[in-house]
């Protein structure tokens, strides 16, 4: 049995717009990843706790309410606190380019804006984890 890459898809914050998160979860499933989907309105603490218990390689965060500058770095920081900074964080949602640059500087690995093809996200993760195409 081959090793499977596990990814957590989570929605922090208070908006309930989970279409994007679900589409990404589905696309990753179809690309052969094991996706753990936590649903909406998760606190950074819940997300990090789930990521550690599930032993995922990456956390995908989706947020459309504008609280990304606070919540995304919080997840990154909590991972560091738990000695789990090997778990990478990538993100998507309504995120202005200048915020994206700032988030990357604060430890978010990649930010995908509106209109991103799911192929690009799959490619990004496959490259990151050396999965054959």
């Amino acid at each position: 049995m081959t090793k499977k890459i596990r990814i957590l898809i989570a929605k922090p914050g208070l908006d309930g717009h989970d279409r994007g998160a679900k589409i990404v979860a589905r696309a990753l499933r179809d690309a052969g990843f094991e996706v753990i989907y936590t649903g909406i309105r998760q606190t950074p603490e819940q997300i990090v706790s789930a990521a550690i218990q599930e032993d995922v390689k990456a956390i995908g965060l989706s947020l459309l309410s504008g609280a990304h500058n606070v919540l995304f770095p919080k997840v990154v920081d909590l991972l560091k606190e738990q000695n789990a900074e090997d778990i990478i964080v990538f993100a998507g949602g309504i995120i202005p380019p200048e915020d994206a640059a700032n988030l990357k500087a604060r430890g978010v690995c990649e930010v995908f804006g509106p209109g991103t093809s799911t192929k690009d996200i799959v490619e990004f993760l496959k490259k990151k984890f050396h999965v054959r195409a």
């Binding site: 596990r6 599930e54 000695n83």
Partner: protein
């Protein structure tokens, strides 16, 4: 991943309940990493004492939501709770979407360890790794472990191979009395739940289940003088969403546990379960062996009609011995 010499400290961390170590150990079992075998042999002596509650039933009846409420109840009773939740792997892509946590979103206890598993090709409602992960959770100190199956149909009885007690969850309007008469999963469950009772018509489902279970009792029970009391499975209605009937379910679970202990059936079940675990591991090894025999050469022999499957199978197996 632990190097050979640090296996000892790795085991120590499992026993201390270090979350990352436990989580990574679960992955070793899922990936069928050879290291998982040496870990199992080190932790096995610490296992076998947890109460394991299986939750099974068709897809969409509310197993995960019910699980979430029951976990809260178990935490309230002071148990150290672990959860193993299984969802299906896609047979086409090998990927999986594990969404049991979605129904547990309000679970706010750091003490509860939840692990989502993909079936990765295992039939029967569980994943092969379930056995090893159950042992790991026991070793970390969990004494009440929930195992939720893939949405199971009629024949997925494997959950009884590791659960102390098994709950069967169904909903109103799902089938008539003939469904309930069929063999399989209904025969191995200890407590029956009609969930979504707030939708109405729960009484019909309850009476159909009761009719089936009454027949079972009268067909087996001609008790002699020293006969042990027979467990008659309770049939309860509940609404996981509205949190109705949860305390009664938990009470029934504890009652069943007392029954198992007092009649000696607990020991009987454990006997069967260690056998099932041994069988599962042996079957897995044999299956891998078989896979390795499906060579191009064997295939060509068949395609060119130089041999036939029956003769070739005999030949390959004889060669091995």
């Amino acid at each position: 991943m632990p190097a050979q010499k640090s296996t000892k400290s790795w085991i120590q961390k499992i026993l201390q309940g270090d979350l990352r170590t436990v989580a990574r150990t679960c992955s070793l079992f899922e990936n069928e990493d050879p290291l998982s075998e040496s870990i199992l042999s080190e932790i096995y002596r610490y296992t076998g004492n947890a109460f394991v509650l299986g939750i099974t039933g068709p897809p969409g009846v509310g197993k995960s939501s019910l699980l979430s409420s029951l976990v809260e109840e178990a935490v309230r009773h002071g148990y150290q709770v672990g959860v193993i939740a299984v969802d299906p792997t896609s047979p086409l892509t090998g990927g999986a979407l594990l969404a049991d946590r979605l129904r547990m979103a309000n679970l706010n206890h750091n003490s509860v360890f939840v692990r989502s598993l993909a079936t990765r090709g295992t039939l029967g409602g569980l994943a092969f790794a379930s056995f090893g992960i159950l042992r790991t959770l026991e070793a970390m100190g969990k004494n009440f472990i929930f195992v939720e199956t893939v949405g199971a149909g009629q024949n997925e009885v494997e959950v009884s191979h590791l659960a102390t007690s098994t709950l069967y969850v169904t909903i109103p309007h799902l089938g008539d009395e003939i469904q309930a008469l069929k063999a399989g999963i209904l025969e191995v469950c200890d407590i029956f739940l009609v969930n979504k009772a707030d939708l109405g018509n729960a009484e019909v489902a309850i009476s159909q289940l009761r009719a089936m279970l009454t027949l079972k009792e009268s067909s087996t029970a001609f008790p002699g003088k020293d006969a042990v009391p027979i467990w008659s499975p309770p049939i309860l209605s509940c609404s996981a969403l509205k949190k109705q009937g949860i305390a009664q379910i938990f009470h029934a679970v504890l009652q069943h546990f007392e029954y198992l202990k007092s009649t000696g059936e607990l020991f009987e079940r454990k006997r069967k379960q260690v056998q099932a675990e041994l069988a599962a591991i042996m079957e897995r090894r044999i299956a891998k062996e078989v896979e390795s025999k499906l060579t191009t050469r064997a295939t060509d022999l068949l395609l060119s009609k130089k041999s036939d499957p029956a003769t070739l199978a005999k030949k390959i197996l004889r060669r091995k011995q």
